[in-house]
């Protein structure tokens, strides 16, 4: 589904990611785990075609992120940051519609899709109200709807729970699980192992731009003979520092 081949990204002379090599399978929830500054956001931005790798290449759904960026964008939905912004003066529906139209969806299909998603996320009550006075939970649902309005095969979520309270974070987790049920591939980044543990099929641990390890959680436990994954994570990072 997604494949990174020797992906290096440099900002001026600072290396944000260094020769990343891995594949993400269709339909899996894939975690990118790393401390602040590890290179998670940079990696996701490259997947989303917003940054070009300095060297190496990436394909998403078989399309090259540099040469076929428009094709890639059709197939991805993104949510960067926990407090995802909306346009306050537009209604929930108008917010979602705007993005749908920019994905070239036709009007009827778009209406239909909004109705469907609104029902699933239980937003019918306020779908035609302006977003300004919504609660955080309501806003979050609108953001979810916006992310999947064009029915993308791949979701890229960058620390989607950062800055959120527990209830909102749980809502995000439920959303991620439902996306997997719908057959989407989800890539999300996090800096806490406990969150990754709850959701992920496989996890890539990155540190200072380098891939330290990549496996299922069970395999990691066995490989390092350590039941406590949080401890495993900190140990691996310490190892990376040496």
């Amino acid at each position: 589904m997604i494949s990174l081949n020797n992906v290096t990204k440099k900002f001026d002379d600072k290396t944000a990611t260094y020769e990343l090599n891995f594949k993400i399978n269709e339909g899996e929830i894939f975690g990118l785990l790393g401390e602040n500054g590890a290179g998670k956001t940079t990696t996701l931005r490259m997947l989303a075609t917003m940054l070009k790798p300095t060297s190496g290449n990436i394909t998403v759904c078989g399309f090259d992120t540099v040469k076929q960026d428009s094709k890639v964008r059709e197939n991805i939905g993104i949510m960067f940051g926990g407090e995802t912004g909306l346009y306050d003066r537009l209604t929930a529906k108008e917010n979602i519609e705007y993005f749908g139209m920019l994905y070239d969806m036709d009007k009827n299909k778009l209406d239909e899709q909004i109705k469907k998603i609104s029902k699933i996320l239980e937003m019918d009550e306020y779908i035609d109200k302006r977003v300004a006075n919504f609660s955080k939970g309501m806003k979050q649902k609108v953001a979810f709807a916006r992310t999947i309005i064009h029915n993308p095969k791949v979701l890229l979520l960058d620390e989607p729970t950062s800055g959120l309270d527990v209830t909102a974070a749980v809502q995000v987790h439920e959303f991620i699980k439902s996306c997997k049920k719908d057959g989407r591939t989800v890539v999300f980044s996090s800096h806490t192992m406990s969150e990754v543990e709850k959701l992920c099929d496989r996890v890539a641990i990155i540190h200072k731009g380098k891939l330290i390890d990549l496996d299922t959680l069970d395999n990691l436990r066995v490989k390092y003979n350590e039941e406590n994954l949080e401890k495993l994570f900190t140990d691996l990072i310490k190892g990376g520092n040496e």
Partner: protein
């Protein structure tokens, strides 16, 4: 670039901003009422000045022969005018001037009347307080009355000596303003041509600012920029859509200011007759009734300048790291417009040189000023529009390149 995406972005930004009460207020309502309000207050100011000048005046008279002095002032200086006299002493005069009990005072020297009877030159002191408007006006009134008295005394003296009083006016200057002849009889309207071009340019330069802050820096701060750039719309389409929305907003503000300008004239017609001969409604309308070509050219100059500044606003909002930073930097845009505006303010429409048409912003202010004054120079107007268009091209090349850079979206 995809025109459909451009239109989607444009429509959304316009809908969004028209729902913002604050921006509707500053871009549509304010320009509409600002000029009429300006006129209204200027009108009130002029009215109160003229009425003050005609109001009752109380003056103090100081003399050791108070009865003679009072009689002299009443008979020879005041005449029929509504001026009251109070007698004051040397010691209390300053205090009374300061309190406003009297507007000014006449101080007669001890030998004043004796000398006057002997046809000797005499002096009378006119005390007033220049910090008080009413005192200054009163002094001027008294002063001119004394001058008139001089004329009368001299005339009767000459007559008693059998000399024609015409000798007092051997040379009489008459003034003749040639600007009317030079401009096919159209007069310049000083007040208007001074303020309005500058005001219009400030509107052109600043009207798009709130929108520019909101839809670039604001979009980034809201975390929606990345989502927007991950849609099928390419960067150029998004940029152009946003650019056009700022431009349309600025143009609306400019048109509203023009309507406000006409409203101001129509609502305060008396202002144009009281403030001087050159300021009648008809002359103003005459000035507005300029050749259609010239009118279109200054409109075009205004719109092209607005187009260039919409681009500059986008560039600044893009380069700023935060909304606050964008607001701060964008507010500086007012300064060049003000400085260039002030520099033309006291320049007569005829002092404007052709080479000035090559200076952006300045050329547009000057063009509006000239046309409002009835000076139609198609060479100047055309160069102004061409220079503004070149200005737009430079700005657009700059922002298109800016948007190609990765760092633009990612801070």
């Amino acid at each position: 670039m995809n025109l459909k995406h451009v239109m989607i972005v444009l429509k959304k930004e316009l809908k969004d901003s028209f729902r913002d009460k604050k921006s509707v207020l500053t871009n549509i309502l304010l320009p509409l009422i600002l000029i009429p309000l300006m006129y209204y207050f200027m009108n009130m100011g002029i009215k109160s000045m003229t009425s003050q000048a005609e109001e009752d005046l109380t003056i103090g008279v100081i003399s050791n022969d108070i009865n003679t002095a009072n009689e002299f002032v009443k008979q020879n200086i005041i005449g029929e005018d509504n001026i009251n006299i109070v007698n004051v002493t040397q010691s209390e005069v300053n205090q009374k001037l300061e309190n406003g009990d009297i507007s000014c005072a006449l101080l007669f020297s001890d030998d004043f009347f004796e000398k006057l009877n002997n046809d000797e030159n005499v002096e009378v002191e006119l005390k007033y307080n220049s910090l008080k408007n009413s005192s200054s006006l009163g002094m001027q009134r008294l002063n001119s009355k004394i001058m008139a008295l001089n004329q009368i005394l001299a005339t009767s003296k000459l007559q008693s000596m059998n000399i024609s009083p015409d000798i007092l006016n051997l040379i009489t200057p008459t003034t003749n303003d040639i600007s009317k002849e030079l401009n096919d009889g159209k007069t310049s309207n000083d007040m208007l041509t001074m303020i309005i071009p500058m005001y219009l340019v400030i509107v052109i330069v600043t009207a798009g600012i709130p929108l520019a802050v909101d839809i670039i820096a604001g979009e980034r701060e809201r975390n929606t920029f990345e989502a927007l750039f991950s849609t099928k719309a390419d960067r150029l389409s998004i940029l152009v859509g946003k650019y056009l929305s700022i431009l349309i907003f600025s143009v609306i503000a400019v048109i509203m200011s023009f309507i406000g300008l006409i409203l101001g004239i129509v609502l305060n017609p008396e202002m144009f007759s009281t403030a001087g001969a050159d300021m009648s409604l008809t002359t103003m309308l005459q000035a507005l009734n300029m050749p259609i070509g010239a009118m279109l050219l200054i409109l075009l100059a205004s719109i092209t300048l607005a187009a260039a500044f919409a681009g500059i606003q986008i560039a600044i909002s893009t380069m700023a790291k935060t909304v606050k930073e964008a607001q701060t930097y964008l507010s500086y845009l007012t300064f060049p417009a003000m400085i260039l505006g002030f520099s033309t303010m006291f320049m007569g429409a005829m002092d404007i040189n052709r080479y000035m048409s090559f200076i952006p912003v300045f050329n547009t202010i000057a063009a509006i000023k000239m046309v409002l004054s009835g000076i139609i120079d198609y060479y100047f107007l055309t160069i102004t529009v061409v220079v503004n268009v070149l200005f737009i091209v430079v700005v657009l090349i700059f922002i298109v390149n800016l948007f190609k850079k990765e760092k633009t979206i990612i801070k």
